[in-house]
Amino acid sequence: MSEPFVSRGFVGKRRGGTEKAQRIPPGQYLTEDFPVLSAGPTPLLSLDRWTFKMEGLVKEKVSWTWGEFLKLPSQTFVVDISCVTKWTHLDMRWEGVSVDTLLEHVELDRKAAFVTAFSHEGYTTNLPLADLLNGQAFIAYKYDDKPLSPEHGGPARLVVPHLYFWKSAKWVAGLRFSEKDRRGFWESAGYNNHGDPWKEERYS
C-alpha cells in the first residue's frame, strides 16, 4: 500500500458548512453562479417554429408546438445541479414538464430501453430510459421564475439533475426512444456514457 497523497501546505476553503458540503459530489465545488458552457454558438430559436417531438420506438409519434407545450401540466422543481467542469449549484429552481407527463402521450414499445435527447442545433446526448422516469427528469422552460434564456438552453432544455449537466440537453427538440444505446456528442468525445456525479463518472 502506498501512502495517500497529500498536497504540501493545502488546507482548502471548505465553503458552505456541513449540511451543504454533504450535498456536493466528490471533486465538485460550490458556486452561486450559473456558468454557461456550450460547444458552439447559441442558437436563436423562433417560438413560432419551435417543436418538441417524441419519436423512435413509440406507437405513434407526437409533436407539440410551443403553444401546445405550455398547456401541458407543469411543475416546479428545486434541484441540485453538477457540471462535469466541476461546479455544483444547489437549489436551482426550474419550471417545466415532467418526462413522466410527456410519456402519458405516447405508447412506448416494450423494447425501448434507451433515449437520445436531440437539440434544435444538432446536439445529442444518450441516457438509459430508466434515468428519465419517476420524476427524475423534466423539460424546463423557466429558471428562477423567468423564461429560460437562450445561453442556458432556452426556450426549453432537458434537465436530469442526478446526472452531470451535459446530459441536460440545451435547446432540446425531442426524445428518441431506441432498443440500443447510441453515444451522443460528448459521450463520443471522451466523456462517460452514464455520468453519475456521485460515482464521479466523468470520463470514459
Binding site: 456550450s38 460547444a39 454558438p41 447559441t42 467542469t85 471522451g190
Partner: protein, 247 residues
C-alpha cells in the same frame, strides 16, 4: 494496469510570472501522453485530513513539448485552487493531475483544413496559445489570426512570444484590443470585441475558416453570434467558456 486517465503525480519544474495575476506552471509527468492543442488537465489537491478540491486547467504548451506540460493559471480572488498554486506551490512540489481531456475544442495541424480564427478573452487565450505553439512547432503555414482582448496592456499573457511568432513568416497575425486602458501611441483596438472588429478579422478568409473562441461568457456569446451573422457556419465555430466562478 494503468488507464490513460488515472491520476498521476506530477512534479513542478518551474514557475513563470506572465502578468501580475497570471503564472505558468511547467509540470513534469511520469506518464506523459501527447495531447491535442486545446485540451485540458484536471488537477486535484488533497489536504492532510483527506479534503480534496479539483479544477480543470487548459494546457498552454504545444504537444511537441515532451514529458511535460505548461498550465497557465489566473489567480482568482478568494479562489481555492488558483491561490494555492500561486502562493504555496514551489518548484519540486508534487501535484496530482490527470489528462489530457476534451475532444472537441481541439486543433491539429493538417487535420482540420481552412484558415484559423482564434478569439480569446483574458486567460481564455491559454488553449489558443497551445494551438499557436503547435502550429509553429509543426511548421504549419495555414493562415491564422488571433484577436486577443484584455483590460490593460500589462494583462496580455505571452506578449513577447506572440510578438516573435507574428514576424516568423508563417502567416500568424495578432490583434489586441485593450478594453480599459491603453498605453500612449497604442495602435491596436481599444474597445470590447464587436461586429466591426470581427468583420475586419475574418475579411481575408473564406467561409472555410475554423473559429475557436475562449473567454468569459459575455465575450464568447458576442463573438460567436457575430461570426454567425457574418456567415460563418455554426459547425465551424467552437467555443469554450468560463463564467465568473471561483476557480
Amino acid at each position: 494496469m494503468r488507464q490513460p486517465l488515472d491520476w498521476q503525480i506530477a512534479t513542478l519544474k518551474e514557475v513563470k510570472h506572465e502578468t501580475p495575476k497570471v503564472k505558468s506552471f511547467t509540470l513534469t509527468l511520469p506518464h506523459w501522453v501527447k495531447h491535442r492543442a486545446g485540451q485540458h488537465y484536471d488537477l486535484r489537491l488533497t489536504a492532510e485530513d483527506g479534503y480534496q478540491a479539483q479544477r480543470s486547467y487548459s494546457i498552454a504548451s504545444g504537444p511537441e513539448q515532451e514529458r511535460e506540460i505548461d498550465l497557465t493559471v489566473e489567480r482568482i480572488e478568494d479562489g481555492e485552487v488558483s491561490t494555492y498554486l500561486h502562493e504555496v506551490l514551489v518548484p519540486g512540489d508534487r501535484l496530482e493531475v490527470r489528462g489530457p481531456i476534451g475532444g472537441y475544442f481541439v486543433w491539429e495541424a493538417g487535420l482540420i483544413p481552412g484558415p484559423l480564427v482564434l478569439i480569446g478573452g483574458g486567460s481564455g487565450v491559454v488553449p489558443l496559445m497551445s494551438m499557436i505553439r503547435h502550429r509553429a512547432m509543426a511548421g504549419s503555414i495555414v493562415p491564422a489570426r488571433l484577436l486577443y482582448s484584455v483590460r490593460n496592456f500589462e494583462d496580455i499573457i505571452y506578449f513577447n512570444e506572440l510578438e516573435e511568432l507574428r514576424v516568423d513568416g508563417s502567416g500568424l497575425e495578432v490583434f489586441y484590443t485593450l478594453t480599459r486602458s491603453q498605453p500612449p501611441n497604442w495602435k491596436g483596438y481599444n474597445r470590447r470585441i464587436d461586429d466591426q472588429m470581427l468583420k475586419e478579422l475574418v475579411k481575408p478568409f473564406s467561409k472555410s475558416a475554423q473559429a475557436f473562441i475562449c473567454g468569459p461568457t459575455l465575450l464568447v456569446e458576442a463573438a460567436a453570434n457575430s461570426l454567425v451573422k457574418l456567415g460563418l457556419p455554426a459547425a465551424q465555430i467552437r467555443t469554450e467558456r468560463f463564467g465568473p466562478t471561483g476557480a
